[in-house]
Symmetry: C2
Subunit: 354 residues, 2 copies
Amino acid sequence: MKFGVVFFPTVGPEDKPAHQYFDECLRLVDLAEELGYDHVKMVEHYFFAYGGYSPDPVTFLAAAAGRTKRLRLGTSATIPAFVHPVKLAGKLAMLDNISHGRVDAAFGRAFLPDEFKAFGIPMDESRDRFVEGVEAVKLLWTTEDAEWKGTFHEFGPVTLLPRPVQRPHPPVFVTSARSVDSVVAAARAGHHLQTVPNAMTVDELRERVTVFRREWAAAGHDRPGQIHLTFPCVVAEDEGEAIARGRLDEERNTVAISQAVRAWQDTTSTAYPGYEKLADIGKRDLFDQKLADDKLLIGTPDQVAAQLRSIADLYGDDLTLSLGIHSGHLPVEQAETTLRLLADRVIPHLRREP
Amino acid sequence: MKFGVVFFPTVGPEDKPAHQYFDECLRLVDLAEELGYDHVKMVEHYFFAYGGYSPDPVTFLAAAAGRTKRLRLGTSATIPAFVHPVKLAGKLAMLDNISHGRVDAAFGRAFLPDEFKAFGIPMDESRDRFVEGVEAVKLLWTTEDAEWKGTFHEFGPVTLLPRPVQRPHPPVFVTSARSVDSVVAAARAGHHLQTVPNAMTVDELRERVTVFRREWAAAGHDRPGQIHLTFPCVVAEDEGEAIARGRLDEERNTVAISQAVRAWQDTTSTAYPGYEKLADIGKRDLFDQKLADDKLLIGTPDQVAAQLRSIADLYGDDLTLSLGIHSGHLPVEQAETTLRLLADRVIPHLRREP
Ligand SMILES: [Ca+2]
Ligand SMILES: [Ca+2]
Ligand SMILES: [Ca+2]
Ligand SMILES: [Ca+2]
Ligand SMILES: [Ca+2]
Ligand SMILES: [Ca+2]
C-alpha cells in the first residue's frame, strides 16, 4: 500500500479564512514530503463549504509543486464539463512541467446541481461532457496538429504547448465510478480508478475493484492499473481522543455536504439515478457503522493498523490510500499528529515484503 | 520607480524543454525575492513559441507563491474571453489567499487569430467579452449572492468561494490600451494600466500616460492609479556583450511573434483595425532605433541608469517597470546578472527622495 493526503476543505469564511486553511495545508504538504508520503491531492468544488475553497485544484497543487521535489500531485478530481479542454490540458501540462512529471490527473463528472447551474451546463449532459473532455485533453497532450470535432467542442489543428513531461501523458484516473459499467469502461480505456469507500457498501466496492482488476488485465495495458481509495483519517495515541475528533470532523463534513446537496430536493436527472436521495444525507448518523466497516480510519496506531489489514483483505493490498486528514475543522496540529503516527508506527509494518 | 520581472517565454520544444524553462524562471523568482524586486508576472498565450509555454499564468504564479513571501504576483495578462468568469475569479481568489494578498490581476483582450479560433470565439466579440468578463469577475469577488445576466454569461445568485484577501478585490489592470478611448475607460473604471512601450511611439505612450493620470485624478478614486510598463532588459558590465545579447534576444522574439501573427495575413477584423499589418512584423529590423528610443533597456549599468532617467522624464517617475529578462534564448545566468547589476548598481541611485 501507498499513502498520501487528500485535502477536502469543508470550512467556509465563518469557520476559518481561506488563507489560513491554505497555510495549514501547505504546512502539511511540507510534512508529507518530509515523511515520505506518496502524494497530495486537492478537490474541485464551488460556492459551498463542501470543497468550495478550491474551485481550481491546479492552483493549489502548483503552490505545492513550487516547494516540493518528490510528492505526486493529484486532482481529486477536476471537472472537464466546466472548462475548455485547451485550458484544462494546458494548465495540467504546465503543472507536469513545473513539477517534473509528478501529476496524477483524476477527472470527475461532478454531481452538485448548483455547480452545473452556475456554468449553464445541463446535468443530463454530464457523462457525455466528461467523456468528451477527457478524450480531448488526452488528444491535446499526445498529438501534434490535434483536431477535435465533438458534440461540445470543435478545434484544431492545434499543437498544445507545453506538452506534458510524462509520456505519453500523466496517468489519467476517473472518479465517476458509481456504476459497474463505468468501472469497466475506465479499465478498458486505461484509466485508473479513484473512489470513495464511504459512498458505497463494502460489497459494492469489492465488486468494483475486482471488476477493475479483471478488465485491466484483460485489456493488456503495458502498465499496472492503479486503485486509489479515499478515507477520512484521524490517528491519536489515545483512542477516546481519536474517536472524539473523528466524530466531530464527520459531523461537520456531513453538515457541509447536506448544504451542498440541498438542491437535489428539487432536482431529478435521468443521468443521476437515485441522487435525489442525497438530500436526506444529513438525517443519517452512521459514524459507528462506518467505523466498523473500515470506511473511516480512526483510532490509535494499533487500531488503524488493524483497519488497514482489513482493507487489504477486503480489496487487495496493491492499493493507494488518500487520507482526508484536514477538512479544516480540527486544529492542524492534529492532522500533523495523524501523519506522524502513521509514518512512525503504522506504515512501516504494513509494507509488502519484497 | 518600482521594478519587477515579467516572464514571456518565446522558446518552444526545439529550443528548450518547458520543464527547464520553468526551473530557470523559478530560480529567477527566488533571486528577485531575495534582491527586493517588487513583482513577478507571467503571460498567457497558446500554441506558438510566442508565450505558448504559459497557457495558464495562474499555475506558474501559484508555484511562485508557494516559495516566496513578499513578491507581488501578476498576470500579464490573463484573457477573460477564453474562460468562464467563475473559473477565472475562483483561481485568482485562490492565488490571492495562498499568497496572502499578493495578486495583481491584469486582463487582456488577446489579439492572435489562432487563439480565438481554437476557443471558437469570434474576434469581433473580443472587446465585449473582455468588458463582460472583467465586470463579472469583479462582481463575483465582491458580492454575495452575485447575479449576472450578460451577453455571453448568465449565472447566479451564487457566492464565490474563496473571496480574495485583498478588499474590495485585487488591483485590476487592463492591457488593452492601444486606443486612447480604452485608456480613458480604464482610468474611469478604476482599472490600472499595464502596457508595452515597444508597441507604440514615444509620443503615443506619452499621450496615454498623461490621459490616464488626468482621468484617474478626475475620477476621484481613493487609491493612486498605477502604470506598469514592460521592457525587454539586458544589463552587463561590458557594453558590447549587453548589446550582442539584447540583439540576439530581440531577433528571437521577433521570429516568435512573426510565427504567432502569421494568421493576420488572412484575417481582418473591424475590432482590430490595422492589425493585419502585424503579419509584416518580422520584416522590420528596428533594434537600434528601439534602443535609442528607450524601448529596450540594454547596456551597462550606467547606460541603463541613463535610459531610466530618460523614461522618468518622458513618462513620469511614478511608474512600475516589468523587465523581460528571460525569454528563454539566453542562458539563465545572464538574466541573473541583469537582476544583480540593476539591484546593486542602478536601482539604489534612482529611488525618489522621501
Ligand atoms: Ca460557512
Ligand atoms: Ca468530485
Ligand atoms: Ca472492522
Ligand atoms: Ca519552436
Ligand atoms: Ca497579451
Ligand atoms: Ca535614448
